[in-house]
């Protein structure tokens, strides 16, 4: 791994931490809080690719586990990592990796549609599959019940997929970092 890759990995771990500093927006009607932080894994995967993107989120999680309050709302430490939402924490790293894998695959013909679908698959389908499974085990409820419980959060995630897609395409035009078989 080149020095430049390490710096990019550190950069997106830091960016994910900074995204946690933005105050959460509360959605009207449902009252579900939406934080900017989960944009981090989407951006890391879509801009750095699978390996570097996934590692940057792993690095971010290591720092949280070390006891730094980097999660939105100034949370951190092992309590949040292995608590109820633990599946989503570990899922972030996997989701960044999957997003990166798909974006790399479509890199030479990347457009709004396949970029958005890649980010939505990794950032919503894969992430919720892992997160809900964890919740189901911890709360002793069925997988289906956990999925229904998580549904209100989807609105925020759809918005984030749109933002990440636009950002990924803009960065691809001006500062491409994935050069797949170019």
């Amino acid at each position: 791994m080149k020095t430049k890759d390490i710096v990019y990995i550190a950069l997106f771990a830091a960016l994910t931490a900074v995204l946690g500093l933005f105050p959460p927006i509360t959605l009207p009607i449902t009252g579900v809080p939406v934080t900017a932080q989960s944009l981090g894994p989407m951006l890391a995967g879509a801009i750095l690719g699978a390996r570097r993107g996934g590692l940057s989120i792993v690095l971010f999680l290591v720092l949280v586990a070390l006891g730094l309050p980097l999660l939105s709302g100034g949370r951190g430490g092992f309590g949040v990592m292995i608590g109820v939402t633990g599946g989503f924490m570990f899922g972030w790293a996997i989701s960044a990796f999957v997003i990166g894998l798909l974006i790399e695959k479509f890199w030479n013909s990347l457009n709004v549609v396949n970029a958005a679908l890649s980010i939505a698959f990794g950032g919503i389908v894969v992430l919720y599959a892992l997160g809900n499974a964890w919740v189901a085990v911890v709360a002793e409820i069925s997988y289906w019940q956990a999925t229904v419980g998580a549904a209100p959060f989807l609105i925020g995630d759809v918005i984030k997929v749109a933002i990440a897609t636009a950002a990924c395409l803009a960065v691809r035009r001006s500062y491409p970092l994935i050069s797949k078989s170019a």
Partner: protein, 198 residues
């Protein structure tokens, strides 16, 4: 520098090895999942709460650890009450509370630097499979340095976009932020290589 969540103290738990505390946490986490009786798990929870007192933490510290998951616990209890019975509900919430409280206690009683030192020790055997502890340490210290830099760049961009009437647009904020920091990352990488790291 970002302050960790560590709270100063001189209890046995404060003095214990970080690695030992993490192992204890894993053992407790696994243990409470293997025990299917709520009174036993309840006793574990009470012991964990007692440990907070032993470490010299007052009720406010204890409450702050459980508060973020309190509403989830309430929901889980209600769901179990509806699906099964109150015993099942108590088992689920005492179990989660015990794990979260103990894990938080490990974080509260261990300095980030000690945690980092045991991480470095734990990584040493991984060297043959391509994990380079020096590079991981470099990456960790870079993240800590980048966070305030990115936050500063973000506030500069926010001011610039406000002048253009774009301060409500997240995209007008995030794209310049990524590109500017990527350029900075390239300079940092050049600087590291110029000093013969690697």
């Amino acid at each position: 520098m970002i302050a960790g969540l560590y709270i100063k103290g001189n209890s046995a738990l404060h003095r214990a090895q970080a690695g030992a505390k993490i192992l204890a946490m894993v053992a407790l986490g696994t243990g409470v999942f293997l025990i299917p009786d709520w009174p036993v798990v309840g006793l574990v929870l009470i012991s964990v709460i007692a440990l907070y007192r032993v470490c010299g933490f007052g009720w406010p510290v204890l409450a702050a650890q459980i508060k973020p998951v309190a509403w989830l616990l309430a929901i889980f209890f209600a769901v179990q009450l509806w699906l099964n019975d109150w015993q099942a509900g108590l088992l689920v919430i005492t179990r989660i509370a015990a794990i979260v409280m103990f894990a938080s206690l490990v974080t509260l009683t261990t300095k980030t630097s000690d945690m980092l030192a045991s991480l470095e020790r734990a990584m040493r055997p991984l060297k043959p499979v391509g994990v380079n502890p020096e590079k991981v340490s470099l990456a960790i210290s870079m993240v800590l340095r980048f966070i305030p830099v990115i936050a500063t760049v973000a506030s500069e961009i926010r001011d610039a976009q406000r002048a253009r009437g774009l301060d409500r647009s997240i995209l007008a904020m995030i794209v310049p932020l990524i590109i500017r920091t990527l350029k900075m990352a390239d300079d940092v990488a050049d600087a590291i290589e110029a000093r013969s790291f690697d």
